[in-house]
């Protein structure tokens, strides 16, 4: 029965189990949520009462068992902090992160691929060296620093973009997106650019490497020998081949951005999932953290699967090897 997908799912399940156990143990050793939640004036008795209502008085393994038995029914518990379903809180925040990650990745690919191809075509030119040095910078500067500099420049000094937060949104059913709205898009540009700076650098590198790998191949030379125009040689023959590594790496990076946009969201007060994660870690809101990581693990695993399938679509050698 769909053995690969099933096997992937099983593996993911195991990862989810291990992950949630690790997070349970991890948050336990970090601190006591009640200390963060309860009013400082609360007496120990009151704290104990809170502990009891939240089930924190049980031994850890029992808490985990209870959590798991509920998780089987897709109930990941309620946030300690505000009593809402943890998963709901996360899903509520998901569109914001989704659009941030998507725009960031889109920017990186749209900018990175042409630059990377150019750098690959003329590796010795001054422009190519400039592009590569720039990518070294983008690649290695800490994300938070880049974000802060962008805020300084574009929000504070020039006043072109808002310094943080999410602008007005359009509502599509349960989903709210700001990308279809000029004001909203404006508030999205800086955080997306912050992520894009690093990812674009990566895409440039991947593209350049793939281009350089591809160019000396016989099929490119053969395409030229056929008398094809340079536009077609590069636009079809080269591009289709370099898309394979770009999609692979781009897909995995998209997953990373989506799951862990923590730093950027913190710097820009972007109300996404990453911000929620860091806030929840700080307040030791375990149900949210656990649900979050379970969600991202599953998401990353699914993304891997999608990348694999995309890979087989892009590379026919993989797709129909048996036929």
């Amino acid at each position: 029965m769909l053995s690969t997908i099933v096997r992937r799912l099983l593996q993911t399940l195991v990862v989810v189990l291990i992950m949630s156990a690790l997070v349970f143990a991890g948050l336990y050793v970090i601190g006591d949520p009640v200390l963060m939640l309860a009013s400082p004036e609360a007496s120990d008795l009151e704290r104990e009462a809170i502990r009891e209502t939240l089930g924190l008085n049980l031994p850890l393994w029992k808490q985990y068992a209870i959590f798991m038995s509920k998780a089987v029914h897709l109930d990941f518990g309620n946030s300690f902090l505000n009593g809402e379903s943890a998963m709901r809180l996360i899903l509520e925040r998901m569109p914001a992160t989704l659009e941030l990650a998507t725009l960031a990745m889109l920017l990186s690919v749209l900018i990175g691929v042409p630059l990377g191809i150019y750098a690959g075509l003329r590796p010795r030119s001054l422009a190519a060296r400039g592009i590569m040095s720039g990518s070294v910078l983008g690649f290695s500067l800490p994300n938070f620093w880049v974000g802060l500099m962008l805020i300084m420049l574009f929000a504070v000094m020039l006043g072109w973009m808002p310094a943080g937060g999410r602008g007005p949104v359009e509502t599509f059913g349960p989903i709210q997106l700001s990308i279809f709205n000029w004001e909203g898009l404006k508030s999205l540009i800086l955080p997306a650019s912050t992520i894009a700076v690093a990812k674009c650098a990566l895409i440039i590198r991947v593209t350049r490497a793939a281009t350089r790998e591809c160019l000396p191949q016989d099929y490119i030379k053969f395409a030229r020998a056929k008398g094809l125009r340079e536009k077609r040689v590069l636009g079809v023959h080269l591009l289709k081949n370099i898309m394979i590594p770009i999609v692979t790496i781009g897909g995995l990076e998209y997953g990373q951005v989506f799951a862990f946009a923590v730093v950027t969201e913190t710097v820009f007060s972007w109300p996404g999932m990453g911000k929620l994660l860091i806030d929840s870690i700080i307040t030791l809101d375990r149900p949210v953290v656990v649900a979050y990581l379970m969600l991202t693990v599953v998401f990353l695993a699914m993304l891997n699967l999608v990348v694999d399938i995309a890979y087989t679509i892009l590379d026919p050698r993989v797709r129909l090897g048996a036929a």
């Binding site: 291990i18 910078l137 690649f139 800490p142 490497a209 862990f260 923590v262 990353l300």
Partner: protein, 301 residues
Amino acid sequence: MPDAAPAVPRHESLLRVFVAQFLSSKVAVLGLVMLIAFILLAILAPWISPQNPYDIGSLDIMDSKMPPGAKNFDGTLTYWLGTDGQARDVLSAILYGLRTSLFVGFVSVIVAFLIGAAAGLIAAYFGGRIDALLMRIVDIQLSFPSILLALILLAVLGKGVDKVIYALIAVQWAYFARAARGAAIVERNKEYVEAARCMSLSWHRILWRHVFPNCIPPLMVIATIDLAHAIALEATLSFLGVGVPVTEPSLGMLISNGFEFMLSGNYWISFFPGIALALIVIAINLVGDHLRDILNPRNEI
């Protein structure tokens, strides 16, 4: 002389060729010189920095937030790059911060390299279950957010430079394991490995003497990039408040501390450490980029 070709002198070793190749790029040499300079500055920090920023007793709060070039209270010391909110001389703090950052970076990368390479090689060589097991561990590691990991480790082990190093190792080894596995799988299928097996050599000998040396180049490339990454990651952890202790600031710590002063016009507290960090990361990457070009021109990401 059976052969007419002139005998190549004995010392034309791989190392020679490598060095000659390396020196062929001016930018890379510049990067290397910068890197060495930074390392020297870091090592010599206790002797050359004007002030010991760790010695809190010598700090006077009245000297805090002095602009670059200001003199201290009794005029004995000039703060060339100003002072920070704790009255630390920024120049000294950078020199000491460099020490912490480079130490954290180098140690974590080296240890992660060794652990990752061992895991990757073993996975590649034996394949099957061992491979699957090790790679699943790597997967778990890679989908675990580094910040949470760092926070947990810091909570369990307490704060300290060494704890940050553990956290960074835990984050990074997985990358090395993956890369080592990839490289080793390529090498494993080369004929020289079969030749070694024909010689009835033991698996560990084949793995360490034959396969491993050939996997070093791609791993070295990752290592240089990772070094830059480790330094940046440590800075990020410090920014999120789970990094090195305030009393032993790294460059990242200095930047994140100074960031509070960024909008208030006391730019130097964050700006100069930022420049230092950027320079060092660029230097490392310049070296790494060129290493990649000469070590494995085919696989350059």
